[in-house]
């Protein structure tokens, strides 16, 4: 850290040029809410910090016909309070309200949260449930990847050292689509012991479930989908009985690991309970 250098980038091109030149010696700094403590504890020792926080092109919330596009530098607090988000994807405003404290939400960014890849992060399970896509840019071009494929291991993602996460694209909820995020933590400001992002789409005529995603965070190295539990619900009318069965399946298919917030045994219990709660709330019929 002693000879760490610092560059304040003004544009995306400047960021990608720097990344190309310095490779994995460089580290991007967005809000600093996760990186600064790592620097302080010498857990990260980059030779160069590329401060992207003033790159205006990475700060936006835009609605297109079928999606909301969110710039990677959009802060947690902006997502929590933005009228477009509240109207179209209230799950995100709800999720942000439960994330850390207001001071951290004021500076922490959506992109920084994803790239930090804390297995207990709240953003990832919510975005996975929504089927969000990430746009990664490097000096040689751009690529798109689903949030589901982005996480590789504890604090590890598929992003290359020469890439910057630029944009998050989220499909708007279809009519009768409903998405929620629920979290359990010791106190409001603590990281999740478990977090569940849920998306459910029911058929207008039959009330059966056409599409479902159950995404669970804080139970392993990366957020995962409870696919066996989804299979219980898909194609059926959601009832107390199917919900109970889905909870049991999720409990069987996920092997949680212990962390500072809770033991594996405890998390195992929570998986069943929280999958059930999530399904109950998400299928209760309120639009969005």
């Amino acid at each position: 850290m002693k000879d760490m250098r610092y560059i304040r980038a003004a544009s995306v091109t400047e960021v990608t040029d720097c990344l190309k030149k310095y490779g994995d010696k460089a580290k991007i700094l967005a809000g600093g809410q996760s990186l600064v403590p790592l620097l302080r504890q010498r857990l990260a020792r980059p030779g160069l910090l590329i401060d992207i926080s003033r790159v205006a092109d990475l700060k936006f919330i835009r609605k297109t016909k079928n999606t909301l596009k969110i710039g990677a530098l959009t802060t947690h607090r902006q997502l929590e309070t933005d009228p477009l988000i509240r109207e179209h994807l209230p799950i995100l405003a709800d999720m942000e309200k439960q994330l850390a404290s207001v001071q951290i939400r004021n500076l922490g960014t959506l992109g920084g949260n994803l790239c930090h890849a804390d297995p207990a992060g709240d953003v990832a399970p919510a975005l996975m449930a929504l089927g969000a896509k990430l746009k990664l840019i490097s000096a040689t071009g751009a690529r798109t990847m689903s949030v589901e494929n982005f996480f590789k291991d504890f604090f590890e993602t598929a992003i290359r050292p020469d890439e910057v996460l630029a944009e998050i694209d989220i499909p708007l909820l279809p009519d009768l689509g409903h998405a929620i995020y629920i979290k359990h933590s010791s106190r409001g400001v603590d990281t999740a012991i478990i977090g569940v992002g849920t998306f459910i789409l029911k058929d207008h005529d039959t009330d059966t479930c056409k599409e479902i995603r159950l995404c669970v965070g804080a139970v392993g190295p990366v957020p995962i989908r409870a696919k066996n539990a989804e299979a219980v619900i898909r194609g059926k009318v959601v009832t107390g009985k199917t919900i109970a069965e889905a909870g049991k399946k999720a409990r069987e298919e996920i092997s949680p690991v212990s962390d500072l917030q809770g033991s594996a045994e405890y998390k195992k219990e929570l998986i069943e309970v929280f999958i059930q709660r999530a399904l109950k709330a998400a299928s209760s019929g309120r639009r969005k």
Binding site: R40, I104, R187
Partner: protein
């Protein structure tokens, strides 16, 4: 070690300083400017003792590199009283016995100021939520909430006591 130029405004005074890339805003406030009213608790973002306002927003100064504050306006607890008169929040904390050891107080007051600037009439729950990133190890939380609740808007957008 490479030094970087840093210009920022603290409590209305413009400063030009030289810092290392790894220094935090907290280091600048406490060590360069000797404004030790901003406290250090956890140095990792959990306790809120180091809270200051940056362009009016509550932030934790241990989580911000000094160079991220380039060109920003910082308000610390030392800048809150005007011409020797305490800010209504400061008076309210004194009158409601919301201070025990006082270590959390600067952070509590500045976070509360950000809240009142945003939402002049917060409910008790609004106050609890907004202050949830500020710990009081003397656990005088109810008095703190009483103090913030007692401050209500006056004419002209300023605050005074109820």
């Amino acid at each position: 070690m490479k030094k970087y130029k840093l210009c920022l405004t603290v409590n209305g005074i413009d400063y030009m300083l030289e810092v290392n890339a790894g220094e935090t805003l907290q280091d600048v406030i406490r060590d360069h400017l000797n404004l030790t009213g901003t406290k250090t608790g956890c140095d990792s973002g959990a306790c809120g003792a180091c809270t200051v306002l940056m362009d009016g927003m509550a932030i934790k100064s241990c989580l911000v590199l000094a160079l991220q504050a380039e060109g920003r306006k910082i308000l610390t607890i030392e800048g809150l009283a005007q011409d020797g008169a305490l800010h209504p929040l400061q008076e309210a904390f004194v009158e409601n016995w919301a201070i025990q050891c006082g270590y959390c107080t600067p952070g509590m007051i500045l976070t509360s100021k950000a809240l009142l600037d945003e939402n002049p009439n917060p409910s008790g729950d609004d106050i609890r939520m907004y202050l949830s990133g500020n710990f009081c190890r003397c656990t005088g939380y109810q008095k703190i909430i009483d103090a913030v609740s007692s401050v209500r808007p006056l004419q002209g957008g300023r605050h005074g006591k109820k």
